[in-house]
Point group: C2
Chain length 200, copies 2
């Protein structure tokens, strides 16, 4: 790409550091920037910096927020006796989209992953334990980490950690996704679906 | 997505205006921005603004450049008797990647497209005509617009426009792409491959 001028190369370079953006997409984005109106480009650059500088973690649940408390923790109508533990703020927003869950959340900001050199100390676990000590009304912790090796390990670690506290720890169900086909389901999912069967 | 705070929603909104970035990718990019180190994010925002503000069109060929002339027009070793006409700076860089062409370029910045309300006056045609008048050494114009309806129409328009000048106008070959399969080629491509056959 030696025929690009340095400013364009730099821009392509920066775009290609983003997740899911390869070299080709990065150059498409860069050329879009050069073609787009200056106001639109300025709005994008400002939105990036403003979000980065204006967003912090909620004092209670570690979700992203602009204020000290996120809108969920600040909402008096949420059920304060249940906390749903998720890996990331994106998982939180996926849970919110089902419009069924009325409790609070706790965002771990990661999972235990020895491969990536991430132990329990890298997660927002201390914040969770402090929270449980302060708010004695919490009765159930729904562990909604991903159904991956790391997510499962984190769920087990958390359940064991909280055993002495006597708080009920539950795990979201694993099984066949709606609309899927038993014929094409993988063995692990099918095994979980069978062992997790429920009375009709 | 009402559970996102305004700064995050704004950022997702801006990202989703980029080409090839849907709502889901935009939110993934936004959350990446929030997780990434501040320096990295600042570098991205600055690269966007710097490229947008620092890049202009080459005085000669209308390619993107930081200086008055682009590196190709400024290169004394390029053959000034041939000009390859392309639609976009990205097409120019694709041509450069083959490392075979040693002439100059002219970037039209678009094609004639009545559907998109783009006529010849929206292209960098006047710049091309001026250039041909000033530089009498130009002997051949290779028209390398895309093999689409609009690209073909633009090529024909250009050839007709330049007929009185006596400059030779050529069109890049259409035919089967290397490594492809005749069995799966579309009719239009195969017809072009046949009519464009050459002596072995």
């Amino acid at each position: 790409m030696s025929d690009f001028s340095p400013l364009i190369s730099d821009l392509i370079q920066e775009f290609s550091k983003l997740p899911g953006i390869g070299r080709k997409s990065a150059s498409r984005l860069a050329f879009h920037i050069l073609d787009a109106p200056l106001e639109e480009v300025t709005r994008l650059a400002e939105a990036i910096l403003k979000a980065k500088k204006g967003i912090r973690l909620c004092r209670e649940c570690c979700n992203f927020t602009e204020d000290e408390l996120c809108s969920i923790c600040a909402n008096p109508r949420r059920d304060r006796s249940v906390i749903c533990v998720v890996e990331t703020p994106r998982d939180l927003s996926a849970m919110e989209r089902i419009h069924e869950y009325k409790g609070l959340y706790h965002v771990l900001h990661g999972v235990i992953s020895p491969m990536q050199d991430r132990g329990p100390e890298n997660l927002k676990l201390r914040e969770l334990l402090n929270r449980l000590q302060v708010h004695e009304e919490v009765q159930e912790l729904i562990i909604a980490t991903n159904p991956t090796v790391e997510g499962e390990a984190t769920a087990l670690y958390l359940a064991r950690l909280l055993k002495p506290s006597g708080i009920r720890c539950t795990r979201i169900a694993h099984g066949l996704p709606m609309g899927s086909d038993i014929e094409y389901a993988d063995e692990a999912t099918l095994a979980r679906a069978l062992s997790g069967r429920q009375e009709l």
